[in-house]
Structures are given as C-alpha cells and as structure tokens.
C-alpha cells in the first residue's frame, strides 16, 4: 500500500509557498496598514502549530505545522514586500494610500520589474526608477 503522507506534505508545502508568493503580494497591495494582517497570520500560525503539537497523526501534525510556520514567515514577508514596493522592486498599487505615498516619493513603480523574460528589456540598476522609460507590461 502506498504511503501518502509525503504527497500530502508536498501539496501543503507547495501551496504554502505559493500563498507566500501570490497571497502575500496581494495582501500587502490591498492593505493600507500591514500590521492587522500580520497579527492575524501570527495568531493563525500559532494555532496551527498548537494543533500540530497535539496531533497524534504525523500527516495532520506535519501539514498543520508546515502551514503554520509558513504563515509566520508570511507575516515577516509582508514587511519585506512593503520594502520591495518602496524601493521599486515590486509593483505599487496606486489605490493603496501607503503605496501612493511611496509613488509620490519617486522610488516606487506601478510596473513589475520581474514580469519579463530573462534577456529582454534590461533596465540598468543604477538608473533611478523615476528616470526610467515607461515599462511595457
């Protein structure tokens, strides 16, 4: 009989990483203040790790802990995403007052610098974002 524990953990790990990329970017772009979602993520992570501690089943405990720890990481990642937006390394949402402030400071951009294939439309790193030509999406 096949052991499916690894498969479940692989799915949990990949989805956690996916959410850590896509979901965190979305959450950071939508929230004017990143502190409330950070608190929610930290508490959710804590609860999931507590469930893991009291779960006799390795698969359930492992999935809860993997997701819980990744939620803690995501709380930290919200701060890093905010920093990326501020420095023009990730796209800013002009409808978000925090991002609008970064755009007004001149370092942020509404375009995603990573949304391109390697080798095309290279932007020189020393060129400030505000002096760049509008990037094509």
């Amino acid at each position: 009989m096949l052991q499916t524990s690894g498969l479940w953990l692989a799915i949990a790990t990949f989805l956690s990483i996916w959410w850590g990329h896509v979901g965190v970017r979305w959450l950071e772009a939508k929230c004017a203040d990143i502190r409330p979602p950070m608190v929610v993520l930290i508490i959710a992570g804590l609860l999931l790790n507590l469930v893991a501690l009291f779960s006799a089943n390795v698969t359930i405990g492992g999935v809860c802990s993997v997701v819980g720890i990744s939620l803690w990481w995501d709380a930290f990642e919200l701060v890093r995403q905010d920093r990326r937006v501020r420095h023009g390394h990730a796209p800013a949402n002009p409808h978000n007052p925090r991002h609008a402030r970064y755009l007004a400071e001149g370092r942020a951009t509404i375009h995603d610098p990573l949304d391109r294939e390697p080798g095309e439309a290279l932007i020189l790193p020393q060129q400030p974002v505000r002096e760049r030509e509008p990037e094509t999406v």
Partner: protein
C-alpha cells in the same frame, strides 16, 4: 504532546532556506534554462515518498520534493533579478542543459 509534526514544519523552513541558496547558485553557475531538472528531481522525490513505509520519512521526502519544484519555478525570476543587478551576475558563459532546444520552446514556470 507530539513533536513529530512540529519537527516536519521546522524541517520545511530549513529546506526552503536551502532552496534560496541553491536557486541563487544554480542560476549563477548554470543558468535558468536548467529549470526542468530540479522540477523532475522534485517530482521524483515525491514519487519516492509514496514507497517509504514510515510516515515521518515519507513526509520529509514530500516536503523536500515540493521545495525543489518551487526552486525550479524561481530560477527564471532569479535570472531577471541578476540582470537587474539585485544579485551578482555571472559574466562567464553558462553550460547549456541537455535538450536545450526543447526547453527553450517551453515557457519557464514561475509563481
């Protein structure tokens, strides 16, 4: 209390941290076109985990496999980051992966 679940969670944190390391190194020395190989390696590890009797070891293999699949999706973005000057760029020519012409026709995955 049962510590096995928490140990698996901490292991996932470590293996993802290792993922950041090997993705940067692999892109630097080999290039992003090698992305199908860690992807297939990750899928292979997950398939292997199905045949391990112990649930704990199977779980660790599953987490490891998923982290390699994620790493494969990061290689293209890492190449762009290096081009933008956010990471060191290797000026030396990079070795072409086996079946490079087929790989070029497939859009490299990313999250």
């Amino acid at each position: 209390m049962y510590w096995e679940g928490l140990a698996i969670g901490l292991f996932s944190l470590g293996i993802i941290g290792f993922g950041f390391f090997w993705v940067i190194r692999m892109e630097y020395y080999l290039g992003y076109l090698w992305w199908p190989y860690p992807l297939l390696f990750g899928i292979g590890i997950i398939v292997l985990s199905l045949f391990v009797a112990d649930a704990g070891w199977s779980a660790l293999l599953g987490v490891t496999g998923a982290s390699f699949i994620w790493g494969a999706t990061e290689l293209k973005e890492q190449a762009v980051r290096a081009e933008l000057g956010w990471f060191p760029r290797n000026p030396n020519p990079k070795p072409q992966p086996p079946f490079v012409e087929i790989i070029r026709r497939i859009k490299a995955p990313h999250l």
